[in-house]
Amino acid sequence: MENTRTSRRRVLAGTAAMAAVGAFHRSVLAQGRTKLVLRLNAPAYGEHAPFAVGLKKGFFAEQGIDLELREGQGSGNTIRVVASKADPVGYADVATAMKAIATGVPLRVVGVFQQKAPQAIVYFKERGWTSPKDLVGRSIALTAGDSIHQMMPAFFRKNGLDPNSVRLVFMEAAAKSAALIAGKVDSMGGFYTVQAAQIEAGAGKPTAWFGFGDHGVTLIAQGIVVHPDILKESPDLVRRFLRAAVRSWQYAEQNPRESVEALLEQFPASAFLAVKNQGFTQWNLHRDLTHTERSKGKIPGWVAMEDVDATLDLLSEFGGLKPRGKAADYVTNEFLPL
């Protein structure tokens, strides 16, 4: 979920944190357990259900971790927060993380829990569109700088669309759904897992979408990001965290209702979960994005390096990522319980 009205203030906060904190600090031990903050990529929504149920069922406590879930303000912001050591672990969009790493941000991806990107162009079903070509002469609401905006050149190229034939209207993340419902734009760029159902609930009409993954833009999506220093200083902590995270995801895949309920208990005020059953719809859809063909049958979090390469290729060709480097520079599976 991209909510980019964020990073400006956070850049300043990050600088201040860096100056004050310095070395990575292993947090206070509470009852023999290590306190750990997981900074999410956005305000709580269905995709976060595994972490909530894992926390509730004690999977993290079993590993000696006193986990605290903190909502985020966009993957870009979470990445900056983790890179400046203000929070030790983050859950963020891996493509965005890769772009950051290429520009020199100190970060590593240690587990990819969503391997098919939920980005999509969402519109009302009544349009009767059948392919992205139907977007010619229409408008798309986008948020400047977010992951959908960044991948639009790839979407256009892979679908044979002339970028100039489509009207891009830029606005704040929260405004996109409102603009579509109000009929100010013909479509919007968002996560089909979240916005589609939200818009349906708000407008009372069914939605449809062109998923990036189905239309030539295959990116791996969300994963766990950490500062490289923690991998050197506390590798065991990272391993224990990932062990608990993997168990949480497996449990959530098997027990969706219970997991979403745990999420609702922990974040009763979240806007994304406000409408009844939204959380359940979101998690159900996100569940299907955990594996690609190449990682089917493996534990959640394990990603095939070929899939990482495919994302790197797209990012370097269309997303301005340079230098490309190797997949291993960005992502590693070695801290997962294999």
């Binding site: 980019t4 850049v11 870009g76 990445i79 400047a144 700088g145 830029f170 606005m171 405004a175």
Partner: protein
Amino acid sequence: MIAPDERRSLKPPPKPWRARVRGVWEPLVSISAIIVLWQLAISLLGAPGFLLPTPLGVLERMQKDAGLLLFHSASTTFVTLGAFGVSVVFGLAAAVAISQSRTVERFVLPLMVFSQVVPKIAVAPILIIALGFSAKAHIIVAFLVCFFPILISTVIGIKSVDAELIDLTRQLRAGRLQTLGMVVLPHALPHIFSGLKVAITLAIVGAIVAEWVGSDRGLGYLLLVANGNFDITLVFAVLVVLTLLGVVLFLLLDLAERLLLPWHVSRRIGLQQPMQ
């Protein structure tokens, strides 16, 4: 009567070059000091490159992307000046209305104050969705951010005109409009200018806020894109350009003030400098 040749000697003596340059080199020294400290912070404290680029890096980037920066600056400048213009017209008109009628003051002024208390960043999305995503909508958002200082300073300026002067004009049987145009507003100009100077900087802020909420061009839009790409060098380049824009507009206002109010106390002190 002053003879023509005597009148010539009443002009102030021409400023020696040292005095003329003096007004320019101090700000340059301050700016250079900041740049040096910035570079030192990076070299000595090792501030991470992803949070703080080098001054040289920023300058190089400004040169490399000059076209891009100019294009987006033009858009933001257009919105800024548009909002400022609307604010001047509205601010002056509303201030005159408020100063002329107690009733208007009691009903309208509180509304103006309320409009300032509401954070524009909360209101902007509603406005932009309602008005569309055009420059016009941006101008309205920026106007809401910047009109208030003009309004308040004009009201105060009007109210601080010497009461005896008003009495005198009344005795000379000047009409309301004559009083306003020939006596009150000219005397209120110093106050009005202080409001204008604050407003021009707020107009830029307002333009940026509007662009953050919904725009496909402008320096605010460019900031979002640069941030999304983790392009911190471009972020700083945009900030430098924004600062320059603000300074230029502020100096233009200062120049206008100097031309329109050469007689005012604040300008008189400046004239005394060559004596030091």
